[in-house]
């Protein structure tokens, strides 16, 4: 959970830096984003979900694993302190939803970070080096693309144990492909700009050109893509957890809670509905912000 806060604030800071920094494109984009009411509302809502997930468990007298056979399938109620009700063994759903949210968000952010590092490095290298190297690197991506990855990930977690680290690695290994493709395309465009030629004429080496000129210009599209990858990864984790292949008890995540809720829905529908709302709202906010960012950085669409 600490990781979740840290990378989150890093992202916000990067956005603020892009917004306030001397670069007018960033400031323009930030202004356009602020004008986008839906995106700003999503940002606020998402911050709210993040805050709830972080401090929520401390606001409740219960914890996420203790069972209470005197409080089975209790409906949501403020009086009992079970704000979201209880499950089939009397565990408090409010605390479980919050702690599950920590895992879901952490998986989303950490894994996206993994895929970001791999994808940007791979894509920028392929795009910048070009020629044969590029076509071989991209051919490899094409081949990986056409493999049924979901099945691999399922096999991986089934056969090699179901721990969080493996989950990061497995999902990260899948989700860098899109990032690599997009970064490569953008690098190709940037590379053909006259200022890169000028830098090369001035005697800058490859590493310096990539670090100084290519990567900063990739920032916009990468920020957009990160906001769109996080919900995909959260979705992926929930998918695995729903199948019982992700986070293992007593730990939980939104996907795992929805899975539990599905089997109890006829007697205790809140077990299905509440975690579903949290998952859907989070995904929705990320998607809306990503969309808003894309429009803000590339205003020709609106």
């Amino acid at each position: 959970m600490a990781v979740a806060t840290k990378s989150k604030s890093r992202k916000t800071r990067a956005m603020a830096a892009a917004a306030e920094g001397g670069n007018s494109l960033g400031r323009d984009a930030w202004r356009r984003l602020k004008a986008n009411k839906a995106a700003m509302a999503s940002l606020v809502l998402l911050a709210l979900v993040g805050l709830m997930v972080l401090v929520g468990p401390w606001l409740s007298p219960y914890n996420y694993f203790s069972q209470d056979y005197n409080a089975i399938w209790d409906a949501p109620s403020l009086a009992s302190g079970h704000f979201f009700g209880t499950d089939q063994v009397g565990r408090d759903l409010f605390v479980r939803t919050m702690t599950g949210g920590r895992i879901s968000l952490m998986v989303g952010i950490v894994t996206t970070f993994v895929s970001l590092i791999i994808g940007v490095t791979y894509g920028a290298l392929a795009g910048y080096l070009g020629g044969r190297t590029d076509s071989i690197m991209m051919r490899a991506v094409d081949i990986l693309y056409s493999l049924p990855f979901m099945f691999f990930v399922i096999l991986l977690v089934v056969f090699f144990g179901r721990n969080l680290f493996l989950l990061f690695a497995a999902i990260g290994a899948v989700s860098w492909l899109d990032m690599a493709r997009i970064v490569r395309g953008q690098t190709l465009t940037i590379k053909s700009q006259p200022y890169i030629e000028a830098a090369r004429m001035a005697g800058s080496g490859t590493a310096k050109i990539i670090a100084r000129h290519i990567v900063p210009n990739l920032l916009g599209i990468v920020v957009v893509y990160v906001t769109l990858t996080i919900p995909q990864v959260i979705l992926f984790e929930s998918f695995l957890s729903y199948l019982g292949l992700g986070v293992q008890p007593p730990a939980t995540s939104w996907g795992a809670l929805i899975n539990d809720g599905t089997s109890e829905m006829s007697v205790a529908p809140w077990l299905l509905i509440i975690p579903s709302i949290f998952l859907a709202v989070t995904l929705f906010c990320f998607n809306f912000i990503g969309d808003g960012l894309r429009d803000a950085l590339d205003p020709k669409d609106r």
Binding site: I143, L147, F159, S238, L243
Partner: protein
């Protein structure tokens, strides 16, 4: 065109090969054995079984055997379902998955394409905002949320549709919708973006300057260009629908290939897991090939 098809078919062979090798290694290098169970097994029986499934051979020999069998489209015998071949299991499970997945893809296209076009034509007006917000909701509601919620409302509270299993067409309604919604939303967004881009292109202004009817401009000039990104989405989209059906089949208790896969993985049914992964891999590769050829046929600028 023919030479391109042959070239692509040949190019797919190494991909299938890599797929096969990776899956094989993954399955066989994993700790544990499909013969492990809660009850201890007499040594003699275990040895017999290992011999039957070639598990007593060195890995490279097993690999060789498997390769040879797969080359003859024989995926071997299942560990879990005794006396049933993987081929038989695929033959029973796939038609069911195909029906659910195929209808879901069809539904996504039939609704997504017109919705996206409508949103583009009415850009920044009510219909656009409605379609775009709707599609963002669609993208944000996973099938394993939508599926159970539909069961709750349509089957548990109101007895309108069967909650699961396979019988008549009623059994397909909820799974197909649950699987389709997210892709419908994708197609809508894709179609909107590409239509807007095409509407802005100079050749559309030319078409209008020629005094053609709006219908002719839209259906003859805009549509063929705007639909191309949706065509290229079909490849990855179909793959995603196939994998998505894994969870949908689980939710609705549909005896399809996705459900077989999950139980096979959990029971370490090596041959069935390998067989299904390979089978789906080949289908996805094949589908991508068809989509690429279709794309080339629709876009005259693509040369082979």
């Amino acid at each position: 065109m023919l030479s391109y098809t042959i070239k692509r078919l040949l190019g797919a062979i190494p991909t299938v090969f890599i797929l096969l090798t990776l899956t094989f290694l993954l399955v066989h290098l994993a700790p544990g054995s499909p013969l492990d169970s809660d009850r201890p097994m007499p040594a003699q029986i275990r040895a017999n079984l290992e011999a039957k499934y070639h598990l007593d051979e060195p890995l490279y020999e097993q690999y060789g055997h498997y390769l040879l069998n797969v080359a003859q489209f024989d995926f071997g015998a299942s560990f879990q379902y005794k006396d049933t071949s993987v081929n038989d299991l695929i033959a029973t499970g796939f038609p069911v998955s195909l029906a659910v997945g195929g209808f879901a893809l069809l539904l996504a296209l039939v609704f997504g394409i017109p919705l996206g076009m409508l949103a583009a034509v009415r850009q920044n007006r009510f219909a656009d905002y409605a379609a775009m917000s709707g599609s963002l909701v669609g993208i944000s509601v996973p099938n394993f949320v939508l599926g159970p919620l539909m069961i709750l409302v349509l089957a548990v509270y109101n007895n309108w549709l069967p909650a699961g299993g396979l019988g008549g067409w009623q059994n397909y309604v909820m799974p197909v919708i649950a699987l389709s919604v997210m892709y419908m939303a994708y197609v809508t967004r894709l179609m909107r973006a590409s239509t807007i881009e095409v509407l802005r292109s100079p050749f559309i202004r030319t078409a209008r300057a020629k005094g053609l009817s709006e219908a002719r401009v839209f259906f003859v000039h805009v549509l063929p260009a705007a639909i191309l990104p949706v065509i290229s989405f079909l490849g990855p989209g179909a793959a995603a629908i196939l994998t998505g059906s894994v969870v949908v089949e689980q939710i609705f208790g549909i005896p399809g290939l996705g459900r077989f896969f999950v139980t096979a993985a959990l029971n370490r049914d090596y041959t069935l897991v390998l067989g299904i992964t390979l089978f789906y891999g080949i289908i996805i590769i094949g589908f991508n090939l068809v989509v690429d050829i279709l794309y080339g046929w629709l876009d005259p600028r693509v040369t082979y």
